[in-house]
């Protein structure tokens, strides 16, 4: 009764073309909301054990893509496999950690009570629960506020409680929607250090941001705009391929070249997206050997 997911994207072909089993494997991923295509034919892989940045302006479809990956988004078509299984299927629910954009914690519980409840939901045995909660609080540097009501914490602190929830039970894939928005620079640096420590332990992280200067903290980037994938590459390769100094410049150049191709009149329905994707994929192959 509770495990059916009739609209989960069906697995049309084996994930064989993603050589070292990708943590997230998307082919022709499309999400429709009303009459609008919020995500339009995205194809990409997220490599296991890396920190991948999902960058794009606000409204570009980042949150929708993240919700599709964690299995809370309806009307998803195409192939979307997570840790080798169709996204949103029951066995993934304890293996994928998810942090929503606004902190999803109970304002009328303390930080520790929040974590204690979510730990129980994740099935962490009672004997290990206190230690797991303590570890998560330490990871996000909140031990001094553990017994404050989440509703009385600052915005940055309550978003760290939300992040700590996702760290419980050491998930294999962590999907974070704008986790560093509004944090002070010191804390932001500490969190990125934490993300890389987690990646070193083998966790795959997919982190969205609309702040382009966070790009260089990621090993791999997915650039999206208006629901289409502009590029999927390393920050370095992105800059080199577009002859830009910063990822932000690279983003602008990709947007402009996509526009140019559309206005040149060869705009088949997915013309711009396809050509960018092809370019990104060929760049991907050329840089693939280095990582």
């Amino acid at each position: 009764m509770m495990n059916k997911s009739p609209r989960a994207p069906s697995r049309t072909h084996a994930a064989a073309d993603a050589a070292p089993a990708a943590a997230v494997h998307a082919r022709d991923l499309t999400v429709v909301r009303g009459s609008r295509r919020v995500l339009d034919n995205l194809s990409f892989d997220v490599r296991p054990g890396t920190v991948t940045g999902l960058l794009g302006p606000s409204g570009s479809g980042k949150s929708t893509l993240i919700r599709a990956i964690v299995g809370t988004q309806a009307k998803v078509t195409g192939t979307l496999d997570v840790l080798g299984r169709p996204a949103g299927t029951a066995p993934l629910r304890s293996r994928v950690g998810y942090v929503t954009q606004s902190p999803s914690v109970y304002a009328d519980l303390t930080a520790r009570q929040n974590l204690d409840y979510y730990a129980a939901v994740l099935g962490i045995p009672h004997a290990d629960r206190a230690a797991a909660v303590e570890q998560a609080l330490t990871d996000v540097d909140l031990t001094s506020h553990a017994d404050d009501l989440a509703g009385n914490l600052s915005g940055g602190q309550s978003s760290r409680v939300s992040l700590a929830v996702a760290l419980l039970g050491t998930p294999e894939l962590l999907v974070l929607d704008e986790p560093t928005v509004g944090l002070d620079p010191v804390l932001r640096r500490d969190l990125w250090n934490l993300f890389h420590r987690l990646a070193a332990r083998g966790t795959t992280l997919l982190i969205s941001s609309h702040v382009m200067d966070e790009a260089d903290r990621c090993e791999h980037l997915l650039l999206i705009r208006e629901g289409t994938l502009l590029a999927a590459d390393t920050p370095q390769a992105l800059r080199e391929n577009t002859g830009s100094d910063t990822v932000e410049d690279a983003f602008l150049k990709l947007v402009e070249s996509a526009r140019g191709e559309v206005s040149r009149g060869e705009s088949s329905s997915d013309g711009s997206a396809r050509s960018d994707l092809d370019r990104a994929e060929s760049a991907d192959k050329s840089s693939g050997a280095t990582s």
């Binding site: 809370t72 929503t100 519980l109 409840y117 939901v121």
Partner: protein
């Protein structure tokens, strides 16, 4: 369904309430104060107090649990915690039964205080056992919880959800036989009152008022209220979607 997750959910809901002593005080004291008010309203007519008081002991838990659950569930939906829970290995039944358990505990406390005050201090004169009153009150509370959970799916804000209270609960109060015997209503209204669960809650209370033992009618009323609560809980479960647009 998983017992550990269900109990964890019930404990979490109770912990949330524990941080809100004013809500607890209001939940426990308001029904008692209203009964005291009613006692003095019927200062010269104690028989009317007996029948209306007994009915109200069934109506209070339904109304308060409806309000508390609908708002708590709406907050769960709008704060993102529901989405997060449903992306975790939590069954829908774990969540719903967890809520029902937590509010059931609260309802038992509320109904015990109200029934105790009514029977011992306000000399509510009932033929049957106060335990049967308490039992029906608990079923009413479950029904209120179920209805609250269900309507919260159709409200986008707290403003909307409180409007469901006059829309869903008031007609039942008007038609349940509290103001006029159901048999004396316009036949169409009597037919409507026959399918509204609160009518049976009040009928059950009246049975306890009049008869020393649990009668067949009492059992029928209790089964109908419990069945309605279960049915609406299932409908409520159907409104919880793991995937949303």
């Amino acid at each position: 369904m998983n017992a550990a997750r269900t109990l964890a959910t019930a404990r979490r809901v109770l912990r949330q309430l524990a941080h809100d002593p004013r809500t607890i005080a209001l939940l426990l004291l308001v029904p008692v104060l209203l009964l005291v008010l009613l006692y003095y309203v019927f200062d010269a007519d104690r028989r009317s107090f007996d029948s209306i008081g007994a009915s109200l002991l069934g109506i209070f838990p339904l109304v308060t649990m409806f309000l508390v659950t609908s708002i708590a569930t709406l907050r769960e939906r709008t704060s993102g915690t529901l989405e997060r829970l449903l992306s975790m290995p939590l069954g829908k039944a774990d969540l719903i039964v967890g809520y029902a358990l937590a509010f059931g505990v609260l309802a038992v406390v509320q109904a015990s205080v109200a029934t105790g005050v009514a029977v011992w201090f306000l000399d509510l004169d009932i033929a049957g056992s106060p335990w049967l009153l308490l039992f029906i009150a608990l079923l009413d509370a479950l029904l209120g919880t179920a209805l609250g959970l269900f309507v919260s799916a159709f409200a986008a804000s707290e403003f909307q959800v409180v409007q469901f209270m006059p829309a869903i609960v008031f007609p039942q109060i008007l038609l349940c036989g509290l103001f006029a015997p159901r048999g004396s209503m316009q036949p169409a209204l009597e037919a409507v009152s026959n399918v509204l669960p609160m009518s049976y809650a009040v009928d059950g209370m009246t049975e306890v008022l009049k008869h020393p033992d649990a009668t067949g009618d009492f059992v029928r009323d209790a089964v109908i209220v419990a069945g309605s609560a279960l049915l609406v809980l299932f409908l409520g479960a159907a409104t919880l979607r793991r995937r949303t647009a």
